[in-house]
């Protein structure tokens, strides 16, 4: 692991994004606009907006970073630049950390915009600190980056990689407690939701929603999401092979 190569990789990824202002605009504006949409969906039921709005602040960063990373790394694999990089003195960890850093920064901006709009413009009523919301959103984004990196190894084209989103992300959204409390699910599904990382992201958001101080459960949720992100990042590193079979 080499800090200079990690930072230079992160800078390169951000430079690439810099040439694509439309993607940046979509990444930053879409979550905000969806929150505004949701706000008016719950026009007559503001309490409903609080619960779902907070959960969505945890889900958005994970979904968008999953998409962005999976496509970006798939491109890296198919364009030959990955092969070139791996024939150079670049560690796999440098490459992965570079991606995580660049998209993590992007996620901070995205989550700040969404959280800011939700809390100050849409009067999302949270008991805890918005900083804690931001923290968990950042870890979610990291998890999305890690998952995207990992699945890109199993896709041969952009078509396939986009199909991984319903496979990897949708079940987590259905089971994370957004639609029904997790303890009211059929026991097998409840057990399944206990091992899916997004459940802990949404639980963490809910903790901040209801408690003024960071609770023990909140720290547990935080640790689970961060642990999952690191684990999947390591798995993603294992999918980068210097030698083609």
């Amino acid at each position: 692991m080499n800090a200079a190569r990690t930072f230079t990789t992160a800078r390169r990824v951000l430079r690439q994004l810099g040439h694509d202002p439309r993607s940046i605009a979509l990444l930053l504006l879409v979550p905000v606009l969806l929150l505004v949409l949701l706000y008016y969906v719950f026009d007559a039921n503001r309490r409903g907006f609080d619960g779902i709005g907070a959960s969505l602040l945890g889900i958005f960063p994970m979904v968008t970073m999953f998409l962005v990373t999976s496509i970006a790394t798939l491109r890296e694999r198919t364009s030959g630049t990955l092969e070139r990089l791996l024939s150079m003195p670049l560690g796999k960890a440098d490459l992965i950390a570079g991606y995580a850093l660049a998209f993590g920064l992007l996620a901070v901006v995205q989550a700040s915009a969404a959280t800011g709009v939700a809390v100050w413009l849409l009067d999302l009523d949270i008991a805890g600190s918005p900083w804690l919301l931001l923290l968990i959103a950042l870890l979610d984004a990291l998890l999305g980056t890690a998952l995207g990196l990992f699945v890109s190894a199993f896709a041969a084209s952009e078509f396939q990689v986009v199909q991984f989103m319903p496979v990897v992300i949708f079940p987590q959204i259905l089971l994370c407690g957004l639609f029904a409390p997790r303890d009211s699910m059929q026991p097998v599904l409840e057990a399944l939701s206990d091992v899916l990382p997004m459940s802990y992201a949404v639980d963490g958001m809910t903790e901040v929603l209801h408690h003024t101080e960071a609770t023990g459960d909140f720290y547990r949720d935080l640790a689970v999401v961060a642990g999952c992100a690191l684990l999947v990042l390591a798995l993603g590193a294992a999918t980068l092979r210097r030698r083609t079979p």
């Binding site: 190569r5 800078r11 390169r12 430079r15 364009s79 030959g80 070139r84 024939s87 003195p89 030698r243």
Partner: protein
């Protein structure tokens, strides 16, 4: 530019060539170690043997052509040399160390067949990134990037997005990346495909300049036989086997052919099925 030529009509095809001292080779005092040395090199992909028992040497500070039809295993051989190919058996030493070992990664430049650069970065930004990955210090980076752009004659397009360049320009950006950090061995997979003749000539001039002035060893693959005469030494491959390892002149003399293309055909038919050989009446 005076290209060094080997004496004509030497040796039989298969045995490994002894590396010869080269006028432009650096460190003239010690015996020249081959830049690439393969002994019984075999690569299996899936159930197919892509390379079958190749034995050859590439002399340092020379331009060696790796010629063969498409699908003959050229790219696999190149990947084996740069260390990105799995399931390589036999012996393969590059710059004195086993192929693919970590210390080699900053000593060789590699250009894949398809230009491997970031389409959404400018030519300069591409080079800047790869220069940083290669560990070129920040204060030298701008100069190294400018030099590489100049070498491939792209200085006027330095700030265009690689994605907006023509195919030939993009492959020159890819080549420029490989020139960064003055690698001792440059391995180029079909670098001149689809380029205009003037540019092709300029690139071959550049290759010979690199060998003569910087002592770089170049291994250049091509499926275009008429590029053979631009090389000092040739490796002819077909269906994963090495047909010949010789200088263009020696190859033509030995096979009694006017062109490398004919030499290739003669070699195929003399090493191929015996019935064909009889049909053609044999070769010298």
């Amino acid at each position: 530019m005076n290209k060094p030529r080997r004496p004509p009509g030497q040796g039989s095809p298969a045995p490994p060539q002894r590396p010869q001292a080269h006028p432009a080779a650096p460190a003239a005092g010690r015996p020249a170690v081959p830049a690439v040395s393969a002994r019984d090199l075999t690569v299996v992909r899936g159930s197919r043997t892509v390379l079958d028992g190749l034995t050859f040497d590439v002399a340092p500070a020379t331009v060696t052509g790796l010629l063969g039809p498409s699908g003959s295993g050229k790219s696999t051989l190149i990947r084996a040399i740069v260390g990105t190919q799995a399931k390589v058996t036999g012996t393969l030493d590059v710059l004195g160390g086993p192929a693919g070992s970590a210390p080699l990664r900053s000593r060789l430049g590699y250009v894949t067949q398809a230009p491997s650069v970031y389409a959404d970065l400018s030519a300069r930004q591409n080079l800047d990134y790869f220069a940083a990955v290669l560990g070129i210090p920040r204060r030298d980076r701008d100069r190294a990037v400018a030099q590489a752009l100049d070498d491939v004659d792209l200085a006027s397009h330095a700030d265009d997005l690689a994605g907006n360049l023509s195919g030939g320009q993009r492959s020159r950006v890819s080549l420029a990346v490989a020139l960064l950090g003055a690698p001792e061995l440059l391995v180029l997979d079909e670098p001149t495909v689809g380029l205009d003749p003037v540019l092709r000539r300029d690139l071959w001039d550049l290759f010979h300049r690199l060998a003569a002035e910087r002592g770089t060893t170049l291994l250049i693959s091509s499926h275009v036989m008429d590029e053979a005469d631009r090389c000092e030494h040739l490796l002819l491959v077909r269906e994963g086997t090495l047909l010949a390892s010789d200088s263009p002149h020696a190859l033509r003399t030995r096979t009694g052919s006017d062109t490398i293309e004919d030499a290739f055909l003669n070699l195929v038919e003399s090493t191929g099925s015996p019935s064909r050989e009889r049909h053609r009446g044999g070769t010298p």
